[in-house]
Symmetry: C2
Subunit: 349 residues, 2 copies
Amino acid sequence: MTKNDYYSQENHGPYSLFDLGDFNLEEGGVIKNCQLAYSTFGSLNSQKDNAILVSTWYSGTSKIMEQVYVGDEHAIDPNKYFIIIVNQIGNGLSSSPDNVKNSVAASFPKVRIGDDVRAQHTLVTKYFGLSSLALVVGGSMGAQQTWEWAVKYPDMVKRAAPIAGTAKNTTHDFLFTQTLNEAIMSDPAWECGAYKNPNAVIDGLRRHADLWSVMGFSTEMFKKELWRDLGFSSVEEFCKGFTQAYFAPMDPNNLLTLAWKWQRGDVSRNTDGDLKKALNRITAKLFVMPINTDMFFPPKDCEDNQKMVANSELRVISTDWGHLGLFGMDPLYIKQVDQHLSDLLDTPV
Amino acid sequence: MTKNDYYSQENHGPYSLFDLGDFNLEEGGVIKNCQLAYSTFGSLNSQKDNAILVSTWYSGTSKIMEQVYVGDEHAIDPNKYFIIIVNQIGNGLSSSPDNVKNSVAASFPKVRIGDDVRAQHTLVTKYFGLSSLALVVGGSMGAQQTWEWAVKYPDMVKRAAPIAGTAKNTTHDFLFTQTLNEAIMSDPAWECGAYKNPNAVIDGLRRHADLWSVMGFSTEMFKKELWRDLGFSSVEEFCKGFTQAYFAPMDPNNLLTLAWKWQRGDVSRNTDGDLKKALNRITAKLFVMPINTDMFFPPKDCEDNQKMVANSELRVISTDWGHLGLFGMDPLYIKQVDQHLSDLLDTPV
């Protein structure tokens, strides 16, 4: 296997590695010497009550969360909070198909959102010695982890803000994600996951990216030609230079591992399939923050979840950028996120 | 080339063929002995002012328009109107890659919406001797033809009802359609269009169908499991037995010809790219009828067009079935369509 240097410290660090040992998974598999990659910002106060946990989305790492959401000018301010951004399993920084040693990438075990949250819980309790989190926040698959945190560890999570993501994945979203997977797996170069060169599946990754161009943005974004704001001079150039270029260096098996997890995100696994019962477990003050133009985590689906949580508010974020507005290309998007998160962090619990 | 009997009289007839002779196309190509397939219902009155022209959508033929939209119980009532349903070029009944003689299917020329409408104009004026149409109506690509009719032949079109389709295709819709094309063309069995067996591209057609399952319906439809109304007992069965099964027997090059045309639908080609000027040409009483859950011809895009037409109304149709609600599986959908079309037909012009 040729090394994929996309996931390097140079590109995504500095990040640290926490050793979980052999980590048993909900689906029955085990990741030997499982490692969680994380970055921290700011300092823990003496009461140990100012920690914020930030989770990552499909294809994303701690780096983009740092760049878009963390800073002096943001609600997630390292001057006030101790911020831990944890990379989810399979994202290329934490244990993933492309970085497991002495193993076949294609046989990397199935991982669930619940596994990630359990692993993150070990990190924050055993390593950082925390017994509460002032806020858990994340977008998309990061929102799935946020929901899972609030349900699984209600005593620990004081506030939670799932952005553009649901507590239980919808059938429609499952089918969309399946087309992403099919785009990769239908490329003969994927070789049932046994490709030797991580860049071999370039055609499949390109088609996968093109599906993101359709479902990830919105018809308004294209109509207003907002891609010009990113410096592109044609829509073809944007699809190639932004969406295709973003996914091209990534490892196909990593993406498939993440997608399998995404498709099956479901907090009701904690309560024998009873979603209402699962959401009733939440004691955190919860802001549910869908994006108004999101095509696969649409506001209605997020609102359906929010309505089942007692201490919650629906805070819809407006942007023409659709789901991928999460990347923060719209300055008004991050302004709204910061306002909502500030309101939430200012709410006594 | 093995014959594809999907497009037979048995499956889609009875339909008649009108001979256009050698038909010159906007893009510079020519279809030798071009034929338009059409079906008629009802009778022309002595004033010759009760004709309705119905156009077809991507993958559709006159048969489904007859089955869903025409009948005693519908606004398009053969007891009152002379109804002509015209199959668009490339749909497998009219001249199409799979039925051209002595020619290579893959080199079938590029056809535009404007070509279809010009061909249809010849049929209704020269063959049927009509000088006016009481109504032009169609859904999706049929809506594109409806818009084109109203702009190109304003003196002839008294009323027009584009359902779930725009006057000028959006960039977002173009990109979606491109993913449909890519699903077919990325199948090695497509052989750049030179496949010998029309059923060879089965994998590509399956992936193409799966994209329709994502973009063609809506998250509400899946959440409410409305596919149960069609007799399916699981969503997998529905995607396989409905969407995949629907497209599987179709000819890949036919679909690509239609998609190329769909992507470039644009009435402003009649006015040197000036959309406002094109829509100002419309004198017909116009009802613009988007479907509220449509993901690629969303209400907003249709409304943008409608607002530019003087004598027009926006009539949004509500259904959880999304764009493919056009197929009429929701009885409330067709009820709304009938109500709007009755209102329109009752409007004096």
